[in-house]
Structure formats: C-alpha cells, structure tokens
C-alpha cells in the first residue's frame, strides 16, 4: 500500500538517508528500529511530507498506487497517512475538538464531540484536556494519548507511531496499547522506536533495522530478540 523507492533525504546540505526502498503492506504491524541518529524519524517526516526534508529527484513515494512524492502534508493526510509525533506541540487557542472539526470539514459536530469524549474516556484522558487548547498543560503521556485519540477519529489507513513510548509511564503505555489493539481493524501500524519494550504489548509482523541512513536488515519478530541480546552492532 505504501512503496518507497530509492529514498534519499537531505536536511539542508546534510544527507541523512542515503538509500531506502521498502514496501509496506495492508493490515500488518511494522517495527522500524535503529540507534539514535540512524534516520528513523527523518524517514517518517519524509513520508508525511515535512517540507524541511528534501528528497532527491530519484526518490519516489507511492501510496495506494498514487504517486505522492510532491504532495503537501495535508493532501497526504487526506489520502490516509497518519502520524503520532514524537514531541507533540501545544497549540494556542485550538482545542483537539476544533482541530478535528477543521480536519473533517463536513462532520456532524455533536457526534464528533461525543466521539471525542468517549475515546478520551477509554484512553483515560482527563476531560478538561479536550476542552483546553491542545496539549496546553498536558504531561508527556497525556500528549501521546491525545495523538492516539486524533488518529482514532481521523482513521487513516496507515499510522506511523514515532517514539510512542517516550515520556509515557507504564500505566499509560498499557492504556494506549489496549486501545490500539481495539481500534486497529485492518490498519497498518508502523512503530518507530529504539527500545523493544513496546513490543511486549503488540507483536510486529515485520522488523526493519536502520543504520546510518540505510535499511540494514529486515526480518520477522524474532529479530527483536537478536537486537535485545546483541544491540545494533550485530547489523
């Protein structure tokens, strides 16, 4: 469903991803792992269309058989690519309800509000936080939960979870994964992380290891144990 061909990415003059090709399939769970600075987040940012990252001319991204390499982030999101950010920012004056209402345009606003309330309850998000400007006064864990809530409402077909576990306590992490299991249906999940602990909750079908801007290895979930034992040195 999402094909990456010859991805080369620069930030300014610095080349961060030197070569990356891969095909993500429908209804699968992926893990992208690798040491800090290996280019994992850069890859995700390139997929969602962050303009700070420049793709080489040969790089090509296809989503549902449509070339999206030159589309703006909003167009990609509308096609069904979702992301939970590593460090979700706070938005002045815009609540999660207002944000989602603008994102969904012709939605029934009463139903939308009720849906948000219900999902917030399941995710154990304090009700106050959904009426406040997004992430204002929210802890790291609450911010990540609000990211997950947005994905559940927007319902994209592939979601990239960029470091979903950082800044999240163990109880919240459990809540998040219980929630994700329930709402996954046939969606594709891609978890970007450098620790394997989250895979205790949800087992990946495929594991991708990135090193120095390249895809260093791929394999099944057994790869995780190898990483746990030997670290990334092994690849």
């Amino acid at each position: 469903m999402l094909s990456l061909h010859n991805i080369k990415v620069k930030v300014g003059e610095k080349e961060i991803i030197t070569d990356f090709s891969y095909q993500f399939e429908k209804n699968k769970i992926y893990a992208i792992m690798g040491p800090n600075g290996s280019g994992k987040s850069t890859l995700v940012q390139s997929i969602i269309g962050n303009p700070l990252y420049t793709l080489s001319k040969k790089s090509s991204i296809e989503f549902s058989s449509k070339k999206i390499t030159n589309l703006s982030p909003d167009k990609r999101a509308q096609l069904g690519i979702g992301i939970t950010f590593q460090t979700p920012i706070a938005l002045q004056g815009i609540s999660v309800f207002q944000l989602l209402r603008l994102a969904l345009k012709n939605v029934d606003v009463v139903k939308l509000y009720e849906d948000i309330e219900r999902l917030a309850k399941e995710l154990k998000i304090n009700k106050e936080l959904i009426d406040r400007p997004l992430n204002e006064g929210a802890s790291g864990g609450e911010r990540k939960k609000l990211e997950v809530l947005q994905m559940a409402i927007l319902n994209p077909s592939i979601i990239f979870f960029d470091e979903i576990d950082t800044g999240v306590d163990i109880d919240s992490l459990k809540t998040i994964f219980t929630f994700l299991k329930k709402y996954r249906n046939d969606k594709t999940f891609v978890f970007i992380t450098h620790y394997s602990k989250i895979f205790a909750y949800l087992k990946p079908d495929e594991v991708l290891v990135m090193k120095q801007g390249k895809l260093a290895a791929t394999g099944g979930r057994e790869m995780i144990q190898k990483i746990e034992k030997k670290g990334y040195e092994a690849f």
């Binding site: 969602i48 269309g49 962050n50 303009p51 700070l52 703006s72 982030p73 909003d74 999101a77 509308q78 979702g82 992301i83 950010f85 979700p88 920012i89 938005l91 002045q92 004056g93 815009i94 207002q98 944000l99 989602l100 603008l102 994102a103 969904l104 400007p133 947005q150 927007l154």
Partner: protein
C-alpha cells in the same frame, strides 16, 4: 496617479455613481470651514470653535512619533459632501444607489435581527436613522450630531470638546474644524439599553475626508452598547477618516463601544477616542482594526471616580502595505480604579503592527490595579511588530502587571495541523482565530462570525 496593488477580495470595495446634492471644492481653508458651519445653520459658538480649531490645525505640526503620515495630501481631499437633502427613517426612502450600498453591506438585515437603533452615515452626513419606539419613550436619544446640535444645543455645548479639546492633537483640531455627522447618544438615569445601537459609516467618493463627531452620555446607572462599522470603496487616491469620539460614563453606568474597522486599503484612519468614567462606572472599548492603509488610534479611559473601571480589548491585522499603530491610554485619577488592556496584533506579508500604550497612575489613585497584555503574531519573516508601552506609576500602593509576547507561526505548527489534513490556509486561519479568541468572545456573535470571515479572506489573499 500612483498605482497600487488592489485587493479584489475586499467585499466592500465597490462604489456607486454619486448623485450628490452638494460637493465642496477640494482642499481646506477658513472660508470652507465657515461655509460648512453656514450650510448647517449652526450657532455662533460652534462656528467660533471651528475657526479656532482650524487656526490650531494650521500651526500644529504633524505627529512624528508614530506611523508615517507624510504622504497625506490635505489639498487633494474633499472635506464636505452632502449626498441627500433629507434624512429618512425608512430604507426605502433612500436614493436607490445609497439603499443598494447598505443592502450589500447588510445593515438593514442586521437592524431587523438584533439592533435597538441604527444610524447610517454616507459621506459627510447621516442619511438614515431609526430607534426603537420603546427606547424613545424611555428618553433615550440616538441621533446624528448635526441634529443634536439643533435639538439639544445646551447638552452639546456642555460636553462638546471638553474631553478632547481641539488642541489635543492636529487631527482632533482638523475634526473640530470640519466635523460633520457622527452620533449623539444620551441614555437617561437607570435605563439599560439591552440591544446594541449601531452606527454605520460609509465613504463612497474618492479622495474624500470623513470627519464624524460622536458624543455619548450615559447617565447614572445606565447601560448602552454602541457598535460602529466602517467600509469604503477601493480607489487609487487616498481618503482620510478622522473622527473624534467623546464618551461620558456617569456614576455606576456602563458603556461598551465596539468598532469593526474595515476601511479599504487606501484610507488613512486617524481617530481620537476618549471616555471619562465617574465613580464605579465601567467603560469598555472593543477595537478591531482590519482595514485602512494607516491607522493611528489609542482609545483612552480617564478613570475619574473611585472604583471606576476601564478596558481596551483590541485586535489589529496588518497585511501588505498596512500599518496599524494602535493601543490604549488609561489614566487613573481616583483610588481603587482598575484598568485592563488586552491587545492582539497580527502581521503578514510585510504588514506592520505597533502597540502603543500609556498607563498613568496618579499619586492619589491609591490601590489601583493595572493589567496590560499585548501579544503579537507574525505570519512570515517580512512582517513586523513593535511594542511601545509607557507606564507612569506615581504611587506605591497599586498593582501593576504587564505581559508581552511575540509569536511566529512556525513551520512546525503548520506541519502539525497539515498532518491532520488541514490546508495551509485553514491551518493559518485556525491559528489566527485561536490567537484572537480572547477578544472575539467579547464581541456579539453576528460580528465575531463576520470578523472570522474577514480574517479568512485576508489569509486566503496571502496564500493565493
């Protein structure tokens, strides 16, 4: 004639063919000042005041501390236009082209829905005026200043120019010498006017000067909300709008004055607004400046009585070739007085906003409380925002708070919203609306909807 980039998104930029009854020759002189007074059959004291003000205007220097006013051509402006020979109280009785103008702006519609009274000024004079019967019975007066001078000369004489003397500044002097139109409001003791009164100001001619003069007196314990809106056609030659507004809020009374200024971008908007608040009185200015080429306006409250409260909540939006130099003045003369200033300014495409504020707490104004918050939002690298706050606190028993922030809509925030599927315009508009929300929520719903729509238009202009 100089060429200008015209903004075709401006919905009110249309003009209609003029069928004026009388148009003065352009330029200003003492002779012209006398002529205006004579045409209006004014009492001698008003003529004298106009002439004195004109002498002061001639010798007073242009203010050099704010926006650049060097491009104003006083000789190129028409100072007086009479567009009809009688004022009416039914829209249908207006000349066709004037009625159409107000229909397109939506004034008659608004009147039906949620207003207590409407006054519509076209060029120099008020052409339409109507107040609800119940208010008239309660003794509320809402008419244009020219009529007020004829019907209530004693009240006008008692208050006119006492809060803003012509010597206050060059443009107050200009207004005093050539004033025409504007509103006169008197609310008797204890009367609460529940629905707003609205004055609508329209300039149709090009290179024209509109100099309305407004006087509001809210007697003890009364309440009134006055709203003014303003638009003009887009012309290549500049027009000048220079109003003077004086408000007297008596003991325990409350006045709210809301402005949605949306002049076209060829208008210099140089306005002096001041209110006097007596004991336990409340004066609130809600000031939204979106249009004009240059605006200089600093609504003031003189807190004269113990326990008086003054507020200025303002929004300024400056786009390409616009400079909004706006702010507030709060002078605390009495103990236990409170003032609050909340200023929100947005600059885009090289536009410039300035917050200019003066807070003065006199030695006798003990236990006073001051809160000033000015926030600026910059939409791009070319735009500019400045803050010029002046605080003169003359006693040690007052509580003063001042906060100022400058924010940019960075790539990071835009990306966040766009990653949820919002277009760039929607994302920027959402930020701007979120940013001004604390002020917008104070504005009647009908106007806040309009304000949000106008901001969206501005944002689309910047991207498209």
């Amino acid at each position: 004639m100089k060429t200008k980039k015209l903004n075709f998104d401006y919905k009110y930029g249309f003009s209609v063919k003029s069928k004026n009854v009388f148009t003065a020759e352009k330029g200003i002189s003492e002779e012209k000042v006398r002529m205006i007074s004579q045409m209006k059959e004014e009492p001698k004291w008003m003529l004298d005041k106009r002439v004195q003000a004109f002498q002061f205007f001639l010798k007073e220097k242009m203010p050099d501390w704010g926006a650049d006013l060097s491009t104003i051509k006083f000789d190129d402006i028409t100072y007086f236009i009479r567009s009809t020979d009688k004022q009416v109280n039914s829209w249908d009785e207006l000349p066709e082209e004037i009625k159409n103008t107000y229909d397109r702006i939506g004034v008659p519609e608004a009147e039906k829905k949620f207003l207590s009274g409407v006054s519509a000024q076209y060029e120099s004079e008020v052409v339409y005026e109507k107040v609800q019967e119940t208010l008239i019975k309660q003794g509320v007066i809402f008419c244009d200043m020219d009529t007020a001078l004829k019907k209530y000369p004693d009240i006008v004489k008692e208050y006119f120019g006492t809060l803003i003397p012509y010597s206050d500044n060059k443009f107050a002097a200009l207004n005093t010498s050539v004033w025409s139109g504007g509103s006169f409001v008197y609310v008797p003791k204890g009367v609460k006017v529940t629905l707003p009164l609205q004055a609508y100001f329209r300039m149709n001619a090009q290179a024209f000067g509109q100099f309305e003069r407004t006087l509001i007196i809210a007697d003890e314990g009364s309440y009134v909300h006055y709203i003014e809106g303003c638009t003009a056609p887009i012309y290549a030659r500049d027009s000048l709008h220079s109003a003077v507004v004086e408000i007297f809020v008596k003991t325990g009374a409350r006045v709210r004055y809301t402005t949605v200024q949306n002049w076209s971008k060829n208008v210099y908007n140089l306005v002096t607004k001041r209110a006097r608040a007596d004991k336990n009185a409340v004066m609130e200015w809600i000031d939204c400046n979106l249009g004009s080429q240059i605006t200089m306006k600093y609504p003031a409250v003189y807190l004269m009585g113990e326990g008086a409260r003054g507020e200025v909540l303002s929004i300024a939006f400056a786009g390409d070739r616009q400079h909004q130099d706006a702010g507030a003045k709060m002078i605390h003369f009495a103990p236990n007085t409170t003032s609050r200033v909340v200023s929100k300014s947005i600059s885009k495409e090289g536009g410039r906003t300035s917050y200019r504020g003066l807070i003065q707490v006199m030695p006798q104004a003990k236990n006073s409380s001051v809160y000033v918050s000015c926030d600026a939002l910059l939409l791009d690298e070319h735009s500019r925002s400045d803050t010029y706050p002046t605080m003169r606190i003359k006693n040690n028993e007052s509580n003063i708070q001042h906060e100022a922030t400058v924010e940019k809509i960075g790539e990071e925030k835009l990306l966040y919203l766009m990653s949820r599927g919002l277009s760039k315009v929607d994302a920027e508009t959402a930020f701007v609306n979120g940013f001004i929300e604390p002020v917008v929520k104070e504005i009647p719903l009908e106007y806040s909807v309009e304000l949000n729509r106008l901001i969206r238009l501005e944002m689309e202009g910047s991207v498209g």
